[in-house]
């Protein structure tokens, strides 16, 4: 991944003629593209798990090893004895209906597990992304506008350092420092988990308690993301600042702030939006590692747990959800970009 603002996601000239289509047809095209990606993802997802070396039935005996009859019953129950194309078709049908299989470990539907674990992850990631976007964009703009100034120096160096740091290591340092405490600093924050045990999560006390538990994890993820976003915003804005149209704007007599807000920032937002969406993959990864370090019972931790068994259907469902999320985020980013910048709708 480059920190360059425009890695050429949107090619300036897909073909020689530049017709501007209407937004509707642009939308349609992008949605079709997303569906194509999703299909590709489903195929990959399906085949990944059928390539497994070893025998799922045997594996799942886990010490209480199964007789041949039980193995046969297991294979039949999970449809593992059918020919591959038929299995794929069943897989597609089931997925379309939201049936992602049964968790081998917990004997509950995978969709049920994923739904339960989705909300802590969304809460964690959503809060962090919003905070990081707001703060990161602000830092990037301010830094770029007065390039080389003291603010810019400090902000960029901090961003670079945070960018180079594994976010989970930052989390560990925060736990050590503020959760456990050192020297004179008291360890006031909880070292993990989402709720205190005897608190009703839906009461007011419970909501405050959950917020308190989320302070350290959200701080960790926010710092990790905003390093990324502020660097991108800054470089994207600096690119813009070199453009001719700004000279024109200034020549027209517009004040600095107006120039910045009305023109430069708006145009810089375009690639920023795209890059942020591109990095959704990083957002997902960040969620997994931070949930592990802070024991937040979300989707990320579910996947790490499923790795132990290994609980293949949970992993398959998780991979599907994660990929679908990324595809969706990309689609949204493309649509926003297309709406903001008609030049792109070729």
């Amino acid at each position: 991944m480059s920190l360059v603002a425009d890695p050429g996601l949107v090619s300036e000239s897909e073909d020689v003629q530049t017709r501007t289509r209407g937004y509707a047809s642009y939308l349609g095209l992008k949605v079709l593209g997303a569906i194509g990606s999703l299909m590709f993802m489903l195929v990959v997802n399906f085949f990944l798990f059928r390539v497994l070396p070893g025998d799922p039935a045997r594996t799942l005996g886990r010490g209480r090893l199964t007789t041949d009859a039980q193995k046969a019953a297991f294979n039949k129950a999970y449809g593992l004895n059918q020919p591959l194309p038929e299995q794929f078709w069943t897989f597609l049908k089931n997925t379309a209906h939201g049936d992602l299989g049964i968790s081998i470990q917990y004997r509950v539907p995978v969709s049920h597990l994923i739904w339960e674990r989705l909300w802590p992850t969304v809460l964690l990631v959503g809060t962090s992304t919003i905070l990081a976007t707001v703060i990161g964009v602000y830092l990037g703009i301010r830094g770029a506008w007065k390039r080389g100034g003291r603010f810019d120096k400090i902000s960029t160096s901090l961003s670079l350092t945070l960018y180079s740091m594994p976010e989970w290591w930052l989390g560990l340092m925060l736990i050590a420092g503020l959760g456990v405490g050192f020297w004179f600093v008291p360890g006031i924050f909880p070292t993990g988990g989402l709720h205190s045990p005897d608190v009703n999560p839906s009461s007011l006390h419970g909501i405050l308690d959950t917020t308190w538990h989320l302070v350290l994890p959200v701080t960790t993820l926010t710092l990790a993301y905003l390093a990324d976003y502020s660097l991108i915003m800054r470089s994207s804005l600096l690119d813009e600042l070199g453009e001719d149209y700004l000279l024109t704007a200034r020549a027209k007599g517009l004040r600095d702030v107006q120039v910045r807000n009305r023109h430069a920032v708006r145009n810089a937002m375009l690639p920023t939006t795209t890059i942020i969406a591109l990095n959704i993959g990083f957002v997902v990864s960040g969620a997994i590692t931070v949930e592990t370090v802070f024991s937040i019972p979300g989707l990320g931790l579910l996947s790490i747990d499923a790795l132990q068994a290994p609980d293949f259907w949970v992993l398959q469902g998780f991979f599907l959800v994660a990929s679908a999320g990324v595809i969706l985020a990309n689609l949204v980013a493309n649509l926003i970009y297309g709406w903001l910048d008609p030049r792109v709708r070729t």
Partner: protein, 308 residues
Amino acid sequence: MTTTNESTGTVPVSARRLTRQRRVAAWKRGWAQFRTHRSGMVGLGILVFFVLVALLAPILASSQGLDVTTANGPVLGAPSGHYLLGTDENGRSVLTLLIWGSRISLFVGLLATLISMVIGTLLGLVSGYFGGWIGRITFRLTEWFLVIPFLPLAIVLASVLGRSLFNIVLVIGVTSWPGTALLIRSQTLSIKERAYVERAEAIGAGRWHQIGKHVLPNVMPMVFANTTLTVAIAILSETTLSFLGLGDPTRTSWGSMLDSAFEIGSITTGSWWYIVPPGVCVVLVVLAFTLIGQALEEVLNPRLRARS
């Protein structure tokens, strides 16, 4: 432009030699410019330090120190005169682990990046240069691979194929080539339109010849800068994957050290020497590559030179 031979006046020089001389001059210029970037130089310095540590590992710390059976240091001992960075839960010197760990961390990062760059450059060139359905198919393929989320794929592959360094290299390579491919593609597209390419076509130069002689050399500088940044990401990724326990348990890397530190509850036992140094090393190395990469980008892309 011709070179001058002092005694005989102008002598015609072959085209190849001319190109080479130009290239060498361009590199020298680039290096001179790079040298003015203090941050890039610092990054280079840090990188050289760690590469030396990795290469000289057998000299700096005996590989015996990695063997659990011969380790007789105290369990999770604090740093002392004998063990500069203390010991781990097996009694091995953390400093030894750190030195040898640098090898895996750097090696995996570089290998994964190599795979990613090769695939990415190839597919980027193809999708940028060739029009028609080849170009479109490769572009679609790139877009599809772009959405594969990295860590979930790593987890899934680990469950299916087992835990090994090869899997880590594979996962990083497979998920990071699209970024490079897109960059190369856009560069290729803009180069394609430049005059001399058209002229070459007019003369009747074959496509691959053109790619090799014209497009590739102009794309390479950006590839180079992008590689450096990709290595940074690859090293971060390997550290994360090893931390999650997806790596090879028999090899020590900085990530696996942090995994062990995490598993044995080093925060509770106060074993900061186990959990802080590997992270600091990762930060330094990744920072080094990032600084170098940024400096390179500014040197090689005139547009960006305005940024610093």
